[in-house]
Amino acid sequence: MTYYQPPMKAGEYTTGTTETADLKKTYRLPSGVYRWVTNDSAITNAGGKLLSHVFTAGAITGHVIECATASDYDIAGVIPIGTSGQGGAIALTTTLAAGSYFLAQVNGSAQVQAANTTVTLGAPLISTTTSGGVGSLVTTVDAAAALLGYIGYATNTAAATAAGQLITCVLSKVA
């Protein structure tokens, strides 16, 4: 195996188009596993939002959109938050223009946006119909089918008090 650097740090984004060839490429970094993706439409308040894959003929394309489906099991990852960046650091309030490129996080410790205030400490998390937001499995969709959409559990020390609030979580399927 060969050591390379990823195109940019997790939590950064660029609106350049020179990285198209790397779309879908996977990166193993000390902080988790990431995939290089681009968003098909603008994403407001991007930091911590949940993403869905855009498929072509059944195959993933590296193109993503905000997830707005309850218990979606085609999750493409989370938009990580950064503190600095050459192209630009992603914050909670950052707007990613359509066609931006960034690393989507698919496992490990992450920050995600709560879709509502049902997300308490240790809550099992799933996607919701709120664009990019996550809710609690037990209270949002209490059905076996929802288990397929499980994306991890909340590790915040306190419950979310407002929609759009960042909470910490561990992205993980049931093992």
């Binding site: 996977t26 000390p30 596993v33 894959h53 990852g77």
Partner: protein, 69 residues
Amino acid sequence: MLREADLFPNIGRSNPTHVRDLLLQDRVYLRMIVGHITAHDLLTAVRGPGVATVDDPDEVQDAACPPKA
């Protein structure tokens, strides 16, 4: 009989040969990663500095035969 590939979607969508070639840690990751990813994705993943490229022999031994408490 349930197989690993039945229980974990990312393993089910991977080529079994690729799954066998994974590092121990990557195999665990493949089970737990949220979203569509395959063993081939991890085998060809770009590894940043500080990420292991070979299995730690002690970890392999512990996984196969956990140390007694």
